[in-house]
Symmetry: D2
């Protein structure tokens, strides 16, 4: 097989998967008013592979076989940089919304490949390799389900009132296992072919049943995709230039005693590796994250510069101050993202991974500053973000003439131009889509606290902590009289 | 006349006013699916006057006549504190959305009373007094239109390409004036009885035509209310516990050659007083603002504490850290708001106004910190804010059982409890309503920059600047050898 | 007895106390080159009582007896406000350095009075009352030793490798106790008459020996004052306009088996009250702290305004921005300090104390922002803070003529004027004195973390936490469909 | 000629240069108690070239000739990275104080080489090349005098009350020029061989006399070095582990009608290039700056980790939080510094320069965060930073025994160890040396505002601004209905 067309991708989703939306079973996700939008958004990835502009970036040729670059196992910094650039380009085509239909799944595959390569029993690594080849050769779209519903957040899986609050193995058979539980925040699941399941945290010795990783097709019996309706409001192309065309679905993914055949079980009972797998995935995935945030922060800077110009305030000193803050925010993210690739570290399986410390610095920088960036952009735009007219006001003569007369910007900027940028800024920052981006900034790919923790851990692990302590001690004691005493 | 009932208020809005919504003329605002919600929200004010709990706070008895406390001209700190407390209570009844139907109009009246009291020609002050008495005695609901559409923001009214970009007098007759222009961000206009119009900035000597203030009924010919559809999506009571019940309308308020009779003209051509009027209104109105922000910040703190508890993370140190930041944010606002009242300054007409420096400190503190407060709350809540289920998922058996099983919190917290609080937090911070609050935080009652400017100006005006400079010079020069040289 | 003169105060310090400075026993603190400066600084308090300008503020007349206002037990908000104003005035006379010679001791006395009033055994309260009257009537200067040396900071007193790392009772006799240990950061001890000793933290049931409070004269046998030489460099009146005249001593105060007679033991073995006493002292003392920080922050604002003017940059927008930040910093502190007094809470013994939540808000606001305030001031001043000339360069003709020609400011500002202000700013922020203020901002009167902890604790204790949770729950559940299910 | 020895360097400074210190002419800088320390500190550079550990890094061999790497004209990213690494290593040997004796001069030479290469008249470039070769081949130490004394900061050179407030040409002769004026903040001038003089800003067409650049030996008649006494206090090796050994001199460098021969005039009257030269120097020099800040920020992190450990508080969550902030601060600086080198841009003369946007991001990141980093470190250390003992207290038996007993840290950490680190932290952050670093953070190599301005300018210049505006416009208008209308 080879790269799939958009039509093939769409068709592949008509497989009787069990998707629920607002209390109703969805008969066909591709024609659903909300999920269908997500399908079309996800198609960007397949389109780019066919598009001359992107083909070289989007497609890899190896041994005369072509496959999507997302599946390229990174073997050096250059591979990571190209992957990053592809993710950035696809997200720009998604008008700031990441496509993710291959990004997150390959992050999971890279983690599985690296972690299983180190296991004593080679069977798991062989299964992963086979599954990786299957996905790549069939140009599969993939979701990754990691976050458990968790119940009491301070308790371990085995301590929860209900053991199912973390997904677990409830039965082991000769031909496979039966799993039960629910994962939340599973992005793109309703329009992915397969779902890869990973543990969400490190496990204790007594938590073998929760130490499980596997993959299943989305239409596997017992897999129930409870789609979130968030952001399902009626969208108008003028008022919502982004979200009228782009959507990502999120599900609570219920595994109601789902059977997983042996060849798709990638971890089962190895409590020591559960945490390593969770973490390795996250390190790859945070690099994906900082890559797909670049068009978002660039769009914020670009919109800020444009609307400041349209409003005629470019020369005000406080405006320049805010633009500089936004530029520094965006460009520090870009510099750290590139540095994370360039400082890549070797993993098992001949792979590299982005430098953990740098990627967490990048992600943490992005996540901590996002709400402030939104604040600056909203400030530069003006209150009309939430008091402006609707699309129909532009098509009714009695109202349009007032809009055209009164909503102009500085000389040379028509009301239409200015309000188009205003609508963009509103959709980007002051809408359900904007709220989605705000919450994702904090919670997607791990929390702020998790990222901070990884910064200090990787600083210790890479020898930096030891180095600076030695430096400080040397400086402190060179001339100290009393220490010689 | 006396205090009006809700029914009287609602009935008074059926006056054939020209309101446009999504390109269509609205025949009756009270029964409109969106504006009707705003009417019901505004009714809170009339309800409270009838409610035993609030009656003492909401109603003033003077010379055996009862009237709404909003109309009480503040004569001391206590009056300001009671006004603040009433605004806070009404907003709490509005579930964090200010009612504003009398707040903003009385802020305008207090400014008009104080500023006209200082004019040489007593006629304007007499007109304002008469109009004030009329509004108070008829328990009127009032909008205030101040912000002009402005065109090029760095140019003065008289420098704009189109002179109408700031509202102005286009004709002067013996019985009144004709005005033209458009005001934006006019809150509550579609459901207010009258609209008070104020200049938005200081004027130059050549800008007599733009130096105009007046009041007209909302149904005056030529007054066109172009209502913003922002936040008009279908609302579900579970998913949107706030915005399904509460709404404030914003309009672009067009004055298409509107005639204003002499008795309603409060300023005309007095360029020196235009700025004073704009500023005095803003100082009163910022005190209203910080008062109505209190239930909003309290709700944020309360929701943060509750959801942290539900999630089982109350004892995590980073959680405590964020709660402390939120508490400090809310309580510093409260302390500054109270201090602004207690330090009130005397104005003409026997009135007092909140201390300008302190009220701007309060507003600026609130405005600069709001997005960060939202960030903290969203972080404590979790990503499920934007990936959670919809109302219908709770009424369908096939989905509800999974929600009930899997969305529980710490032991003792059911999925229903936890998700109700989650929905509240989403509506408060991650929705169109949330976006409205974010943008209002920055832009309502003047921009961040305007507030900062007033801090330094009032610090200079109240003698503080002089005091600290003298202090520093005294300390610096006491012992300086060379200055004696 | 009555108020003491400066001469009487100075004479009273010649009592053969055991003070060590740079490894040498100090024969007479009043004539010591460094400690003598601290004695003269402390004399400000006695001078003010004799000075017509301050007499009314500094002296209280009760039953025809005069005594220092510092000793006035606060019985209402007004008492606290006057105490605050006196502390502010004295610190302004100290050119930003607090006098403290009565402030900290009376904070300790107020805490002792309030806490012992609640004890079952009335003897302790009687002792405190007697001691309080003795101090007041003899116009005593007092140090307060609270912070133990602590060893391993995460271990309790009883868990330390050496039990003496927290001061403790090592022997109990019929006529008194013998104590051993060392307190650090004991301000003004070398020039105080008595030293009051308080526990530094809450104690466990097994920590009776560490639950001790008492007072002793500074010359009690076994009391060894190891004075810190920090800031003892040669000072020139031009280069160091503050620190050439003002100094506060800090000691490690060693109790090498010191006998304390019964009438000076205020707590012994009551483990439950040790924490209450520590905390009550701190709440009084933090109010003292925010009061004495006011001249410091005012001096920063005043110096910033002056030097910006001298440098000719007053109109630069970034300069205005920084001035506004400094003003907001200073004035928010002032507003919170006043509010803490106005919201005072009742304690035992008929006293009031500043509102704990507000005083901790105030202190935390000050402490967190101090380094940033220094940064802004240093930025406005310029690099010449640390590259400028010395006093002698102004008295040598060959160099002075260049200084006079080249170090001028904007037109009208001579080099002498500008450099006098520059010297003041350097002494305030870029010197050992400046460093002292920086470190004190963070560590004096409790750490940043301790203050934050008290904010949340007092927010819970005063009912606010309960109130906002109830508010959020009410708002969240009013319309929730599924919770009714 | 070749690399010089320390002795040769020291000897070369005995040239009768006119240096003034505290009003007295200094007969020999090498034996002066304060300046001599600076001479020894500067010798680090010469020592490293002889030291086996550093030789490869410190010395370049080209055409069989050896010279100091500082003089290596950067031709690619690798050259910049090695230069950065050398500066970092030298500053680490300087215990956080930059050596600068060749760093700043070569920054000036690189700027002169690049800017003069673009001039029509080739004579200037030839002069610079000759002077560069002379400096390199004689292993010269160099100061660079750029900042003028400036008078009224908002006025241009030609607008000042005294035209000498910016250095200018007062006479032009056939064999050279005569210059007059004063530069401030001239680092290392008293112990440099030559002084390179550059303009401090862009000049207007009428400012030909101020558009001048040249070099002169430090002992040229009329050159008067007024050395700042800042930080000249008595230093003890225990209390001041850094500043007892390391010192950098700063001078006001007066040019009292100094003659400059033609071959050392590098710019004269070319008003268009004055600004380019000032800016190019600054871009090179800011890269030097961020390189030499690395040991400083590393020492802060290292000291923070060490003292937190010694105090026994490593596991406290707020401690971890602060350590993470410090790590992120340091490592973001390192990543940006490296990225600035890797993204180097081509200049005339076959050189490269660090990427201006990135180097300004790096410098601005460092400068804005320094005071906060100091705050965190001081907080982790404790108040004993400014209340601790002096060196003599450790050598006197009566005091030492108490220090040893009571100043211990967690188990296993002696008082000596803990106080050695405490002394280091005090010298680093709470001393005149610490103040010097604070002020340098803000003012050295250009102000915070200058760096911010360069961020936005270079963002515009490198095409980023155009790119993001195009991106935002494309996203905004793709689907906008009304713009098509």
């Amino acid at each position: 097989m080879a790269l799939r067309t958009v039509a093939e991708y769409v068709e592949s989703l008509r497989d009787d998967r069990e998707v629920w939306f607002r209390g109703e079973r969805v008969p066909d996700v591709t024609s659903h008013p909300v999920i269908g939008k997500a399908v079309r958004h996800a198609s960007i990835d397949f389109q780019m592979a066919e598009d001359e502009t992107y083909r070289e970036l989007a497609v890899v040729t190896e041994n005369e076989k072509e496959y999507s670059r997302y599946y390229k196992i990174p073997q050096n910094a250059e591979d990571l940089l190209l992957r990053s650039r592809l993710i950035e380009a696809a997200t720009a085509e998604g008008d700031t919304l990441v496509v993710l239909i291959k990004e997150i799944g390959t992050d999971a595959l890279f983690a599985l490949l690296a972690v299983t390569a180190g296991m004593n029993d080679p069977v798991y690594h062989q299964r992963v390799r086979a599954y990786y080849a299957y996905c790549r050769d069939n140009d599969l779209s993939l979701a990754t389900a990691q976050t458990d519903v968790k119940g009491d957040r301070v308790k371990r899986p085995s301590e929860q009132a209900d053991p199912d609050l973390y997904l677990r193995v409830v039965e082991r058979r000769s031909d496979g296992i039966v799993v039960r539980g629910a994962k939340i925040h599973t992005s793109v699941a309703p329009n992915a072919n397969d779902i890869i399941v990973l543990p969400t945290r490190a496990m204790g010795a007594q938590e073998a049943d929760w130490s499980v990783a596997f993959a299943v097709p989305a239409n596997t019996p017992g897999v129930k995709l409870l789609a979130s309706p968030f952001g399902d409001g009626k969208s108008r192309p003028g008022e919502q230039p982004i979200s009228a065309r782009h959507k990502m679905m999120e599900t609570m993914t219920v595994f109601d005693d789902v059977f997983v055949p042996n060849e798709r079980i990638f971890l089962d009972g190895d409590t020591a590796l559960a945490g390593a797998l969770a973490l390795t995935f996250v390190e790859y995935h945070r690099f994906t994250a900082v890559s797909y945030k670049l068009p978002l922060v660039d769009a914020i800077v670009g919109a800020a510069v444009t609307i400041a110009d349209y409003n005629g305030i470019m020369k005000a000193s406080h405006v320049r101050e805010k633009l500089i803050k936004l530029i520094a925010y965006a460009e520090t993210l870009r510099a750290l993202t590139q540095t994370a690739a360039k400082r890549c570290v070797a993993k098992a399986n001949g792979q590299v991974a982005p430098d953990p410390m740098t990627v967490n610095l990048a992600k943490s920088h992005f996540a901590h500053g996002y709400h402030e960036a939104v604040q600056h952009l909203q400030e530069l735009a003006g209150g009309i973000l939430v008091t402006g007219p609707g699309d129909e006001d532009w098509t009714t003569e009695e109202t349009r003439r007032y809009l055209q007369k009164y909503l102009v910007g500085r000389q040379g900027v028509s009301a239409e131009q200015r309000m188009a940028m205003m609508n963009f800024i509103r959709d980007l920052t002051a809408s359900e889509y904007g709220a989605y981006q705000e919450v994702l900034a904090i919670h997607a790919e791990g929390s702020l606290e998790a990222e901070k923790l990884q910064i200090i851990r990787s600083y210790q692990a890479n020898g930096s902590a030891e180095r600076v302590v030695a430096l400080a001690r040397k400086m402190a004691t060179r001339q100290s009289t009393f220490t010689a005493a």
